[in-house]
């Protein structure tokens, strides 16, 4: 079920009413309702994969309790490894099996040994990378002693399957979300309204920005071989906004819907395209994944400590693994490696943690230095996005090659869709820029203005979504 579908428009109020008015007397009943609702939400795509979530939840519930109950370090480690092997094993089978088979075959062919391989027709279960990482973090945290294993099975199953963030994050930590399932939730008007505002802005990002960019980007990437350079540049920039609108829009909606049920999810995006260097970009983009890799991979590897070669190795590992997490394709690996290359100079010059502050809300016009660093960071990101979006590495290189090839410097038609989407993006950037100090654009608008102005803004946004909404419905990150 998609957030931006009519099914969800019926589903959400129904669950909301049952949650607050029918099942509100018992925490366990509320959690059971959330599990049921989440399974219906997920099963809407393909009910067969529900068994995977149930299996993953049961496995980590049992193993975490085993880890907690034993005092022998060797046994603790063994249980952790079982969890890691099975969870990552499932991810490998469903997501990466064909990739490895094909890559091995290609490697053998390269050395003149052609081998016959059989690829399996495997359907990737929606959201498997997200909930696998969420359950893994729980087991690792229990193993590290950061968290006590829960004995409450309903709260744990609800934590793993919570429908707002089940299929595309934010990838929650058990330390933040699990305790929220173990205590009574209270309905707070301000929290719920703030949640709805965030949903509204998320819809603008997804339906107006991402979906309109999508149709243009698809057209350009499908015909990249014959498109003029200018169009290819537009394709790369529009894809940057498509993926931002699509993914951060989903995260905003997820956080907003969770607020309606009394939950507080972690922030996943913090205006990443206003970053002044690539290090800052990665602290603002897909925060829940970046911090996951930082805490469970980068720091255990030694982080930025140790010899210079170790630092370089760790940076490459984390970025390449991050790229590989997105999908079983060399394009994602190169995308990750490219980001590592962008990041290395900052690390080696010890400037990777320079821009830790938020860009100040008080300045509406950036200082001279930021006036250059922000667009430069954005352009580097766009260049990397070409690999992310392209079907193959060769396509990405040809695409980039054509951008810089003067033979493709020809004029092109500025269609109505192109003009309209460009205007929408410019207005969108301006609004985000003016509200960059907030958690989301519409946060706290009620505190400054009378109610009739607020309601007029909500109405205007709703009409903009209706008038300028694009056709594409699916979310990009569902495929990861």
């Amino acid at each position: 079920m998609l957030f931006n579908s009519l099914d969800f428009v019926i589903f959400l109020p129904l669950v909301f009413i049952l949650y607050w008015f029918v099942f509100n007397r018992s925490l366990t009943n509320q959690n059971i309702l959330l599990i049921t609702a989440s399974y219906v939400f997920y099963g809407w795509w393909d009910y067969r994969f529900l068994s995977l979530i149930i299996f993953s939840s049961a496995l980590d519930f049992i193993l975490a309790n085993k880890i907690s109950s034993t005092s022998i370090q060797k046994n603790k480690k063994a249980f952790l490894y079982i969890s890691l092997s099975i969870n990552l094993g499932l991810l490998m089978v469903f997501k990466y099996f064909n990739f490895f088979i094909d890559s091995f075959a290609n490697a053998f062919s390269f050395f003149g040994i052609p081998i016959q391989t059989t690829s399996l027709e495997i359907i990737l279960p929606v959201g498997i990378s997200f909930y696998t990482f969420q359950t893994l973090s729980y087991t690792i945290d229990v193993y590290r002693g950061n968290l006590k294993a829960t004995k409450n099975i309903t709260s744990f199953f609800a934590f793993v399957s919570f429908f707002p963030q089940l299929v595309a994050g934010p990838i929650e930590r058990a330390t933040n979300l699990l305790p929220q399932f173990q205590k009574a939730r209270e309905f707070k008007y301000s929290n719920a309204v703030n949640g709805l505002r965030q949903v509204l802005w998320g819809l603008i990002k997804k339906v107006v920005i991402a979906d309109n960019c999508a149709s243009i980007v698809n057209e350009i990437f499908d015909n990249y071989a014959t498109e003029p350079s200018g169009m290819l540049i537009i394709g790369a920039i529009f894809f940057a906004f498509q993926i931002y609108g699509d993914f951060s829009g989903y995260s905003d909606m997820a956080i907003g819907f969770a607020r309606l049920f009394g939950f507080q999810l972690m922030r996943n995006f913090a205006f990443p395209y206003f970053s002044r260097d690539i290090g800052e970009f990665w602290r603002r983009w897909h925060i829940s994944l970046s911090t996951w890799f930082r805490d469970y991979l980068y720091i255990p590897l030694g982080g930025s400590k140790g010899t210079i070669w170790k630092k370089i190795r760790n940076v490459f590992i984390i970025f390449i693994v991050s790229g590989f997490w997105h999908g079983a394709n060399w394009t994602f690996i190169i995308w990750g490696a490219l980001n590592a290359i962008y990041f290395l100079p900052l690390l080696l010059l010890n400037k990777n943690r320079k821009n830790l502050d938020n860009i100040k809300s008080t300045y509406y016009f950036p200082p001279v230095r930021d006036f250059f660093t922000i667009p430069l960071t954005f352009m580097l990101t766009c260049l990397a996005w070409i690999f992310f979006r392209a079907d193959s590495v060769q396509t990405a290189f040809t695409y980039i090659g054509h951008i810089f090839n003067y033979q493709y410097y020809t004029t092109f038609n500025f269609s109505y869709e192109l003009k309209m989407t460009s205007v929408l993006i410019i207005v969108f950037i301006l609004i985000e820029w003016l509200n960059k100090h907030k958690e989301h654009v519409l946060e706290n608008i009620d505190k400054k203005m009378p109610r009739w102005i607020n309601w007029s803004i909500y109405l205007l946004i709703s009409f903009i979504i209706f008038i300028f909404g694009g056709n594409q419905q699916d979310f990009i990150y569902f495929q990861f």
Binding site: F187, V193, L459, I467
Partner: protein, 319 residues
């Protein structure tokens, strides 16, 4: 919670009422607008059309048959119902909607080609139907194709979702800030260009051996039934195979057998005629085409004059 429910309900009622009012007004405006193809659909739905000749077909009709030339300087009334991107089934639907609401024509000219008897599952240029999606005659046919969803048919004005160009055009006309004018005349939209589109050159390299067009037997049957119906209604039916640029002929392997089907259908009734332009002299002059299957404005004028000449020779006009 009470405050939340009240505010949400109030907002839903307010926004819903505003939405229904605005889109009701916009749709009413579009039903009198000349934006996109609305002038033709509005003419059809006005019920005031009294044309002696109607032309039906795809873009071959819409871009290549000039009602003024056919009408011999307005001595008779002609209307072009050509639909870009549509095959025979929906061309007939448009004719039937026209026929139900307007005066019976004396002659129906149907422009056909090698694609006409095929089937296309999707709707092309769906914006043209938006203001008339409440008409059951239209929707019953539209539902046979991909394009509109359940919500488009059943939720009030939901069909306008994301159609910013249509909504803004309707809104601008509603507040009288702009009046859109049709770029065609009585359904005729010639393309005034001397530039040859590159699509054919791509086709030649991609498919050098050409292709055999797969006909849809249901469409063939529908064409036969349509011909029978026109004969029953005492409407003269002129089936015209449109001219195609000569170099293109070899790329459609079954051109002759397709044209024989039309010939066979036409032979069943005395009131049905078949005129074959597929190998006419126009076909050899590349400068009259902008792609292998479409004449430009100059070509369309010559073609329309030729149709006029044939109609005269058949003594169907001005008798």
């Amino acid at each position: 919670m009470k405050k939340f429910i009240i505010n949400i309900s109030l907002f839903a009622v307010l926004s819903g009422s505003l939405y229904l009012t605005i889109f009701w007004k916009i749709e009413k405006t579009l039903q009198h607008s000349d934006y996109l193809d609305y002038s033709e659909w509005n003419d059809i739905y006005s019920g005031k059309q009294a044309n002696e000749i109607v032309i039906i077909g795809s873009s071959r009709a819409r871009k290549m048959v000039d009602p003024i030339i056919i009408s011999q300087n307005d001595s008779i009334s002609v209307y072009n119902l050509g639909m870009e991107g549509y095959k025979i089934p929906f061309q007939i639907t448009k004719y039937q909607i026209y026929r139900k609401r307007n005066k019976k024509p004396k002659i129906c000219i149907q422009i056909v080609d090698h694609f006409s008897l095929t089937y296309r599952p999707d709707l092309y240029d769906i914006e043209q139907f938006l203001p008339y999606l409440n008409d059951p005659d239209l929707t019953i046919q539209l539902k046979k194709y991909e394009g509109f969803t359940w919500a488009d048919y059943n939720l009030p004005y939901f069909r306008y979702f994301g159609k910013s160009n249509v909504i803004l055009a309707g809104f601008l006309e509603l507040i009288k800030l702009k009046r859109f004018e049709s770029t065609g005349f009585k359904g005729y939209y010639p393309k005034n260009t001397a530039i040859w589109e590159p699509a054919f050159d791509r086709l030649k390299t991609e498919n050098p051996k050409g292709e055999t067009i797969k006909l849809n037997q249901e469409v063939v049957h529908l064409m036969e039934k349509f011909t029978d119906k026109l004969a029953d209604d005492s409407i003269k039916h002129i089936i015209i195979y449109a001219p195609e640029y000569s170099e293109f002929h070899q790329y459609i392997k079954n051109r002759d057998s397709i044209s024989n089907i039309y010939k066979a259908i036409a032979s069943k009734h005395n009131s049905t005629y078949f005129i074959d332009f597929k190998d006419s002299t126009i076909c050899h002059n590349k400068s009259l085409f902008y792609n292998p299957t479409h004449l430009n404005k100059n070509g369309a004028e010559i073609f329309s004059a030729s149709i006029n000449k044939y109609l005269k020779s058949l003594k169907l006009l001005y008798d």
